[in-house]
Symmetry: C2
Subunit: 699 residues, 2 copies
Amino acid sequence: MTIESLKPFLTPRSVAILGASQDPNKVGGRPLHYLQRYGFKGPVYPINPGRPEVQGLKSYKSLDDLPEVPELAVCVVAGDQAVTAVEDAARVGVKGLICITSGFGETSDPEGAVKQKRMVDAARAAGMRMVGPNTQGLANFANGCVASFSTMFTTLKCMDGPIAVVSQSGAMSSIPIGLLAEKGLGVRYSLATGNDADVSVLEMACAAAADPDMKLLLLYLEGMPHADKLADLAEIAHKNNVMVVALKSGRTAAGARAAASHTGALANEDRVVDAALKRVGIWRAPNIAGLVSAAEVYLKGWKPKGRRFVTISGSGATGVMSADHATEAGLEVVSFPPDTRKKLDQILPSFASAANPIDLTAALLTNNSLLGQILPVIADADAADLFKVDMPVAGPGYDMPGFAADIAGFSKATGRPVVVAGWQGDIPGTFRAAGVPVFPLEAEAIAALAQLVAHHELVDRAKARPRPHWQPFDAAATAKREVALNEAESLSTLARAGLPVVPHHLCRSAAEAATAWRNLGGPVAVKGCSADLPHKSEYGLVKLGLDDEDRISEAYREMEQAVAKAGARFDGVIVARMVKGRREMLIGAHRDPFFGPVIAVGEGGKYVEAMPDVALLLPPFSTDDVLAALDGLRCAAVLKGVRGEPPMDTAAFADAAVRVADLMLRDPGIASLDMNPVMIGDAGRGVALVDAVVMRYED
Amino acid sequence: MTIESLKPFLTPRSVAILGASQDPNKVGGRPLHYLQRYGFKGPVYPINPGRPEVQGLKSYKSLDDLPEVPELAVCVVAGDQAVTAVEDAARVGVKGLICITSGFGETSDPEGAVKQKRMVDAARAAGMRMVGPNTQGLANFANGCVASFSTMFTTLKCMDGPIAVVSQSGAMSSIPIGLLAEKGLGVRYSLATGNDADVSVLEMACAAAADPDMKLLLLYLEGMPHADKLADLAEIAHKNNVMVVALKSGRTAAGARAAASHTGALANEDRVVDAALKRVGIWRAPNIAGLVSAAEVYLKGWKPKGRRFVTISGSGATGVMSADHATEAGLEVVSFPPDTRKKLDQILPSFASAANPIDLTAALLTNNSLLGQILPVIADADAADLFKVDMPVAGPGYDMPGFAADIAGFSKATGRPVVVAGWQGDIPGTFRAAGVPVFPLEAEAIAALAQLVAHHELVDRAKARPRPHWQPFDAAATAKREVALNEAESLSTLARAGLPVVPHHLCRSAAEAATAWRNLGGPVAVKGCSADLPHKSEYGLVKLGLDDEDRISEAYREMEQAVAKAGARFDGVIVARMVKGRREMLIGAHRDPFFGPVIAVGEGGKYVEAMPDVALLLPPFSTDDVLAALDGLRCAAVLKGVRGEPPMDTAAFADAAVRVADLMLRDPGIASLDMNPVMIGDAGRGVALVDAVVMRYED
């Protein structure tokens, strides 16, 4: 539905330019210039009442004068006239409008927002979709529909290719295209959505991802108010085998401030963005270079079988560094089986090394066929999944075209990824021409391979999970007031959800407390219960290890007094069995305004803010997802058992986390949950919630 | 002394080539070819008994036939003949010999090592220095003395410049030169030391750093057996204002294995390498790109006054990303004072943003003098230390040469670092020509500035410290056997060194133990003492919180029996006051075979291996160094006090760490110390060592 409505932007039959300028270097002249330069085949109608023709095309006075209703209109008229132009376009039945004009929602002037709303209202009433305002425009280099004013497309002759670049920012819709062109890669779509007033960047990304020719989609975002569309995008991309790499800026406080003043983006909690992208199998790039760095390996369509990595180099040093980089990137620098080693030794001269990294020294100079001989030996033995060949120095004597042909042939025959590291002279050109991805330096080549492996793992896991129930941002929801349940009510809520709450009784008298102690048998914890005082220990409302009637009665009376003294409501005293787990963990949950329930799992204790060791998960998720998240924690090894200790009951912990997620999905009245500590015992001994605070929304 | 002896390698008066070949593309022909191509002015003597002349120069039969004794000889004869050639050169009085020939210490053949030793012995007996064997050679592009066979120097026309590249590996002596040439930077020295049989890579680095024209020294190492020379290098470089960046590979197990087979490097403990480089103010690069990435800003000679950072951009998106990257790199994205903001607002058009990042939007297109106007406003207010200008898109309308002149002029007038991010078209060339460092993308520009700031801080701290007492690697020292002291002896050793050991008594009878308890007053820890059983708790040799005579006597008897049962020597029982610190810390010490005493400070407890939070320090160091190290720990905030808790006594902890370092320096008989836990209390309450194991070398 969305995608259908966006087709006029990508493949329009006809285009009108509202306010077309004669000067091809002005914002108002560029779209017309580019439509002609890039060979758009459909009718193009410049609208400029002041001229009989514009840039060689017959000019029209208004939309009403055109011989047909254009499918796409591009609005470049100045200032307030843009509002009228949008209304006109909606009236005559234009299907899609790109409003390049700026000065609306992105300004600090409240009038700008009002005018922008008028445009959106007019468009929506007429069933017209609108991109912008304040957008650099859209380009499709397959059909020449380049309705953009990007300066990049003047200096660069853009080529079509299986990549889409979709961005809120104009600059970031074109910078990646320039960088990819330097690698010889073409891009089909450059889609800048500007103020996202009607069509959002993620909707536009969905439309691009649905193009069956796409293999890679690069996304630049400063805000993410439409989480539902992120789930759509992932679904469409996975179905269409498009890998998605996203650069979401505004990660830091300074960045979020800058984003708010740039695109008016609402700040996302960055750890939630991380978790959300991971949840749906989208790779997060740290910077512009990281957005484009692995493009070549993505386009090969490789799906690596594993992480076993081999480097073949003519330089010992690049081999040593590659072993370091590969290990640090999580690849396995495999040792060859003796058989394979022997076969390699027979091929290699004595001074070369057949260990991994394979150091050919200068042997390639004397025997240009070495590479073609050794690669199949490794593949035949199924001894590695990923290959890198270093060409650190080029010059007379090296048959680069021959090496390129050998590598390309090997990779094609085996389907295994092989990349080259080299930058000198014609190395990049020669290997690219043969279809071999080439990176300037070893670290970059290894990073790209490691990203390919990890991204495919992410996609596979994402595909196996049910779709998240994300909703569009709802400002009203964030304004709801919250109220704390007292500890007894909190524990009851969790117990009803099937969580292993510590055996306890809420007692309303000292006698009841003593009875509770006798029933529980053994030492108990006594805790004053008041919804008004969540930080119990600060008021002396926690006593541990009490094991005789007098001290329990005394504790009851003291706590009753302490609560009264604090002017708080006294809800009784909880008498709970003392539980000694192996380690204090935590499970927390809150509702993100963009992505809904977020579950935190990790180490508990009192320093969780100062020394966090926590992972976030977005439901629905499985116990396997929780176990994988625990594996990424600092305390992972301790949970598994070190120094001869038995493993802890991570299975029970994971089960508890899944139940918390279910509870958050089932009961929208719960604002947040904080369970700290969750005591974890030896494997098979379970976990126990000993303390919890549940916050509910007020009715 | 060292440096004097290496002068013949860098600035020889005359050069002989032993085994010079007629073919300029052969290893044996390249040095002669390059000496002529790069215009070496002194006499060059090819020695090749088979030809009357070589590459146009008169050829000689042997060294004895030359009209003079050459100061430098380059040996390119094949295989074993190299040994004779070296002996001949030593005999006639050559001052320096570069042995390019390979097949010696780097091979697995023990004969190779024997032959290599013969060469070294001959050289040393005659007072001749030797570089290599198995080296790519040395180059000085200032005087044209290019005695190397690097293929790079064929394809690249190398330029002289204030940079030295010094490397064990041949490839890594030339790859950085090619990468720097792409930035328009010249390099004076390319020095590959190969097997380091006589002259080591660090000695060679000292010689290069002593050249008064040098500003930057790039170092590639796979091993670091000469720690003393590392200290020399730092001293010379600091004195001469040369910044040193080192890439030490073999960081991982796989990398160390590869290095051992490449240069025969002995594996260094990588965390110690980190600490050592930091100790002497050398920046550690993570990879090849990181080795050269900041070269342009180093060469400007800037010393930033602080970390306050400003971005000026024509793209909102690069501004947002810059704010993220700068924050993550530890720079401060400053807010301008109202005055400055007001002045900027007066200059900028209304749609631009005068906040930091300053977003000029497309205003630069209409007013090319904006940049030149706003930079001084910020500098005049002293509102920032570091500046970056983004040029994400180039094209018609942008006066790049004008911007470059404005930026260069501003930087020159104020001495403040300004860099540009931009890669398109002639941007790099235009700004470089004006002397403005330029980086392709924002993240790289910011990383370079952050490195410049952090490296200068490192150098300043290094200069303020006394020189470390590092010694050359001594294989014999690593073979010494170690023996554990029992806990009582260990604690005594530490108490004598002025460390705050918990009050305790070593008791040889149950009665003595009871007396000790009475004397100490209050609950005690009782611990069985046996040098044979350092892991006490596994044998039931630790009882805590005992506070009555019977239980103490009983504990004594049980422990005596437990030690006997384990077949170990019973040294008595330690009765110690129970100490409740705020947190369990650790101080450890060991002797690194390369760098001597290494002190570890950090969190204690039983999971120090599984969840390490530890920093390493190399003595001598000050309590300030310890405090700075603690600041980098995960537990830093907790030590300083969070959630209303008072700070802990880091001053006392730092004092203890300094005393441990002094002890390790003073008493070479101590192999290692392990103090875990060191209980730390509130500020002013001190620390207490409650457990310790001292290992001594056997006599």
